[in-house]
Symmetry: C2
Subunit: 224 residues, 2 copies
Amino acid sequence: MTFYKEHSKVWVSVDVIIFGFDESKLKILIGRRQMDPGRGEWSLYGGFVGADESLDDAASRVLFGLTGLRNLYMRQVGAFGSVDRDPGERVISVAYYALINVSDYSEKLRNEHGLEWVEINRMPQLYSDHNKMVKMALKMMRQKIKTAPISFSLLPQLFTLTQLQRLYEAVLGEEVDKRNFRKRIKEMDFIEKTELIDKKSSKRGAALYRFNKKAYNEDPNFKL
Amino acid sequence: MTFYKEHSKVWVSVDVIIFGFDESKLKILIGRRQMDPGRGEWSLYGGFVGADESLDDAASRVLFGLTGLRNLYMRQVGAFGSVDRDPGERVISVAYYALINVSDYSEKLRNEHGLEWVEINRMPQLYSDHNKMVKMALKMMRQKIKTAPISFSLLPQLFTLTQLQRLYEAVLGEEVDKRNFRKRIKEMDFIEKTELIDKKSSKRGAALYRFNKKAYNEDPNFKL
DNA sequence: TCAAAAGTGTTAGATTTACACCCATGA
DNA sequence: TCATGGGTGTAAATCTAACACTTTTGA
């Protein structure tokens, strides 16, 4: 059966924006493009959508190839389809963003792919319309992080409240009042204080917290 | 030049969700599918993306063919790409939603295309994943209408505050307090009261208002 | 002993919500 | 004259934002 044969087909790719949080900075993972056209330009990492895989599957595949990690938090940003967005051919691209905990990520893989972590507010010019994708992804992520517990995907399992606060500051791009912030955290029972103390960040040491996903699902009242 | 020839191409279509507001109800325009596969099922209206048009252009084209109207408020909902979402072939679809003022819309065109206005909360089952598209579009539109002046795209140029209130109630799916609503409207100087009185809706008559786009652009402080 | 980060409450102001009656008119 | 939708203000409650000092400890 070929129902639609009078219409033309196009290439469809996925591009992934990988957010990470390190040194109190929000960063994304970019590399030098390895193929023509645009070889050598800074670029997001992407891949073509296969005939037998969904868009989400294609994005997961690209993400796995890049990070060795599965089941990352991932959301679609949207489809980008200007006729001349790709200098070579007509390619429609669907952008996704994903969140990773930088300490889960292997330096080896990063080097193999020639990738760099770049601070979100020091982004170079990227290939094609990739800057637009990043901008939209960031906008969506900012929105999301205020109402859903996605921040924990960017942090180690155990984290201090200062780390969490720095993360919000980095994502939102504005300072946050420490006391008001901690007040709100205390109201969320699914952010649990552990007995453990982190001594790396200060002499006095800071309590380590943990996100309890099960408790969250029972009472999903996240609000920052 | 054919850079990507080793990869497979797919069909890409756009599907448009057309919102209208009538009789205090939020409605969408759907029709019976005219082609195989799925002939006769309730469906959104769509079209294939041509080789030389952008996604947005394809959506505008479909929208124009359907309504005879250009420059409608239109936003992308996202790309839908399950492998088997279309029973015939592999087709990736990008959904858009658009807002129209029902009274601008010609009954003639509606009949020609065999379209019906269906209340959003009486939606029948639609072809393929179209219900999912509608659900996402509605969610996005609800979000948008709280922070951007898109409601005026669903109303005639002149409207009463009761109409505007009913629109919000229909979109948000909840009742709104009349006095609080009007208080907030008064704060937005770009919603201008005219000298005109609408006598259709009540014996006493209600003042007609107008959205001043220019004034809005100078001070875009929409907040409902 | 001191520098550096952790931790902790209160108050004023702003925003949000709840709520009920009179008005004008055509039928 | 009365039924119908139009139009108006206040007060309580909640939420938000501003703000400063003590604690602990390793160097």
